[in-house]
C-alpha cells in the first residue's frame, strides 16, 4: 500500500513539475466551455441542466485522455527509468496501480474544475442536482475506462505517438460499438448474442444511463471490471515487455 502511495505521489508531482498538468487542465476547461456553450447551446436550450456538457465529454476524452496516458509507460521505457523502477522492491501491480490512480485522480481534478458550469446552471435556474452529481460520477468512471486502455497500450511501445494513436483507435471502437453503424456490420453473419455483447461493451450505453441519473449497479460494475481487465492486461504487458 505504501508503495502504491509512493508511486502515486511521484506521478502526481510529475504532472505538476512539467507543464503537462497546466496544459491539460487549461485545454480541457476551454474545450468543455466551447462544447457546452457554443456547440451544445447551454443557454439556448432554456433548460437548467448539464446535458450538453456530458454529451460531448466522450468525444473530448477520446483525444485528451490518450494524450495524458500515452506517457505512462512508454516514457519509462524510452528513458530507461523502467529498469530502475522494476528493480526497486515493488510489484508490477503496485506500479501499475500507483500510476493509474494518479492519472485518474488528476482527471478527476480537471472535472472538479468545471464547477463554474455547475454554478452557472444553478444561477440560471434550479437544476436537478442529484442528476448532475450522477453525471459527474459517470464522467469520472468513463475517464477511468479511457485511462485504463491508454495505460495498457502505453506499455506495448516506447514510442508515445504510437501509444497515442492506438489508444485513440481502441477507445473509438469502444464508443462506436454501441452505434448502429458498427452493429450493422455484424448483423446477418454474427450470432445475436455476440452483437448484444458488442453493444453492451460500449462506453456510451453505460455512460448515458448514469448521466440520466440512473445509478444502476450493473453500469458501475461494467466500468470497474472494464478498468480491472485493462489494468490486468497492463500488468502482464509490462512484465513481458519491460526489457525489450
Amino acid at each position: 500500500m505504501s508503495n502504491i502511495l509512493a508511486i502515486y505521489k511521484r506521478e502526481i508531482n510529475g504532472y505538476f513539475a512539467t507543464p503537462v498538468a497546466y496544459v491539460f487542465i487549461v485545454i480541457f476547461l476551454m474545450l468543455t466551455g466551447v462544447f457546452t456553450f457554443y456547440l451544445g447551446g447551454l443557454f439556448e436550450r432554456g433548460q437548467a441542466d448539464l446535458q450538453p456538457f456530458f454529451a460531448y465529454l466522450p468525444w473530448l476524452y477520446l483525444f485528451l485522455i490518450p494524450a495524458l496516458s500515452m506517457r505512462l509507460w512508454a516514457e519509462e521505457r524510452k528513458s530507461g527509468s523502467i529498469e530502475l523502477l522494476m528493480t526497486l522492491p515493488i510489484s508490477v501491480t503496485q506500479a501499475v496501480l500507483g500510476k493509474f490512480i494518479a492519472s485518474w485522480l488528476f482527471v478527476g481534478l480537471a472535472l472538479l474544475l468545471t464547477f463554474p458550469l455547475w454554478i452557472t446552471v444553478n444561477y440560471l435556474g434550479s437544476p436537478d442536482n442529484p442528476v448532475i452529481f450522477s453525471g459527474y460520477l459517470a464522467a469520472f468512471l468513463m475517464a477511468g475506462a479511457y485511462l485504463a486502455i491508454g495505460s495498457c497500450i502505453s506499455a506495448i511501445t516506447r514510442n508515445q505517438v504510437i501509444a497515442f494513436v492506438i489508444s485513440v483507435v481502441i477507445s473509438f471502437l469502444f464508443i462506436l460499438s454501441g452505434f448502429p453503424l458498427v452493429l450493422d456490420f455484424f448483423e446477418g453473419w454474427a450470432p445475436q448474442i455476440l452483437i448484444d455483447a458488442i453493444s453492451s461493451m460500449s462506453f456510451l450505453t453505460h455512460f448515458n444511463t448514469i448521466v440520466k441519473g440512473v445509478i444502476d449497479l450493473r453500469d458501475i460494475i461494467y466500468f470497474v471490471s472494464f478498468i480491472g481487465c485493462w489494468l490486468l492486461a497492463n500488468v502482464i504487458l509490462v512484465e513481458m515487455k519491460k526489457a525489450d
Binding site: 529498469e83 530502475l84 528493480t87 526497486l88
Partner: protein, 314 residues
C-alpha cells in the same frame, strides 16, 4: 551472498549469456570485464531481477530471484547502465522517492538521504532537476540511489563511467570502504580499476566466462609477467644478448630497441630472482643501467588475448 548458476539468456536466436556460474561472498568485490556486447549488463539485469533468464538460477542472500523477487530486490542496490533516473525530478525529490519505496520515513528517511548525498558528493546540486545535470552528476545520482538503503549486495554497471579523475578516485575509495561488509559486483572497461578495487575478476566474451580469478592471476597470464626490462646506456656489444641468455632460468631474451643512446632488452624467465641475476651480470660486465624493473604483466594484452581467441576458433 550472490550465487549464479548456469545462467543463460537468449534474445531470439542470439545467445547473449550462455551458462555463466559464479559466486560472490561478503567482503568481496567482483570485477566484470569484457568487450562491448559481451553480456555484462545482461547478466547484471538477470541478477537484479529485471530480466528473466532462459535457464539457470540466481540466489541473492539465500532468496531466489524468480521465486521471491521482492526479497532479492530489497537486499540489492543497483546502478543500471547509463544510470537512468526520472529526469523531471530534482535530485532530493528523486532520492526521497527511492527512500519511500525502500520503506524509510520520518527522521530515518532524512538521515539516509543526507548520508547518500554526502557519499556521492551531490551537495551542490540537490535542488537541480536531474535532466539538467551533467553526465557525471547523473551517474552520481544513480550511485546515491543505489547505496541509500545500505544494502548487503551492490550491483553497479560501470559506476565510474563519465566521472572526472577526482570523482573516479572518490568512488573507488567509497566502493573499497563499503566492500568490508558487502558483496559487490562492478562492471568496467577500465582495467586498472580491477587492480585497484577488485578482489576477483571475471572476463566474459560472447556470453561465456573466459577467466575467473584474482587480478594477480590475470596478470600472470601475461607473457610479460615477471619478465625483466633492462635499459642500458649506450650500445653494448652483441654479446650482451648472449650473456643474458646464458643466465640460469632464462628462456628468452628480446632486444626491444636501441634508440636515444639507450638499448632495451626484455628477459623472460619466470624465476623469482631473475632481477638479481640480471643486475649481478650487469655489474660484472660494467654496463651502465638506466632502468631495470620486473614487469607485472600487461592487462590489456591479456584481455585482448582472452577475448579474441574464441573468435579465431569459431
Amino acid at each position: 551472498m550472490i550465487e549464479v548458476q548456469n545462467l543463460s539468456k537468449q534474445f531470439g536466436a542470439f545467445n547473449a549469456v550462455s551458462d555463466i556460474s559464479f559466486t560472490v561472498n561478503k567482503g568481496e568485490v567482483l570485477g566484470f570485464l569484457g568487450p562491448n556486447g559481451a553480456g555484462k549488463s545482461t547478466t547484471m539485469k538477470m541478477i537484479t531481477g529485471f530480466l528473466a533468464p532462459n535457464s539457470g538460477t540466481v540466489k541473492v542472500c539465500g532468496s531466489d530471484v524468480i521465486k521471491s523477487p521482492i526479497a532479492v530486490k530489497k537486499s540489492i542496490g543497483y546502478l543500471p547502465e547509463g544510470a537512468p533516473a526520472y529526469g523531471d525530478m530534482t535530485v532530493v525529490n528523486f532520492l526521497k522517492f527511492v527512500a519511500e519505496i525502500r520503506g524509510f520515513s520520518g527522521a530515518e528517511k532524512t538521515k539516509r538521504i543526507e548520508n547518500a548525498i554526502q557519499k556521492a558528493n551531490l551537495e551542490g546540486v540537490v535542488h537541480k532537476t536531474i535532466e539538467t545535470l551533467s553526465k557525471g552528476f547523473k551517474r552520481r545520482v544513480g550511485l546515491a540511489q543505489s547505496i541509500l538503503h545500505d544494502p548487503p549486495v551492490l550491483v553497479m554497471d560501470e559506476p565510474t563511467d563519465g566521472l572526472d579523475p577526482n570523482q573516479k578516485h572518490e568512488v573507488r575509495l567509497l566502493i573499497k570502504e563499503m566492500a568490508k561488509n558487502k558483496a559487490i559486483i562492478i562492471s568496467t572497461h577500465i582495467l586498472e580499476e580491477v587492480d585497484a578495487i577488485c578482489d576477483r575478476a571475471i572476463i566474459i566474451a560472447q556470453g561465456k566466462v573466459k577467466f575467473d580469478g584474482t587480478p594477480e592471476e590475470l596478470e600472470s597470464l601475461s607473457e610479460y609477467h615477471n619478465s625483466v626490462r633492462l635499459r642500458l646506456d649506450g650500445y653494448p656489444s652483441l654479446n650482451a644478448e648472449n650473456l643474458l641468455k646464458r643466465l640460469p632460468g632464462v628462456k628468452k631474451v628480446e632486444h626491444v630497441n636501441s634508440k636515444d643512446e639507450r638499448t632495451t632488452y626484455r628477459i623472460y624467465g619466470g624465476e623469482k630472482d631473475l632481477l638479481k641475476e640480471v643486475s649481478r651480470l650487469a655489474q660484472k660486465e660494467q654496463w651502465v643501467i638506466d632502468e631495470i624493473a620486473v614487469e607485472k604483466g600487461h592487462l590489456d594484452d591479456v584481455f585482448r588475448q582472452l577475448t579474441t581467441e574464441q573468435e579465431a576458433e569459431g
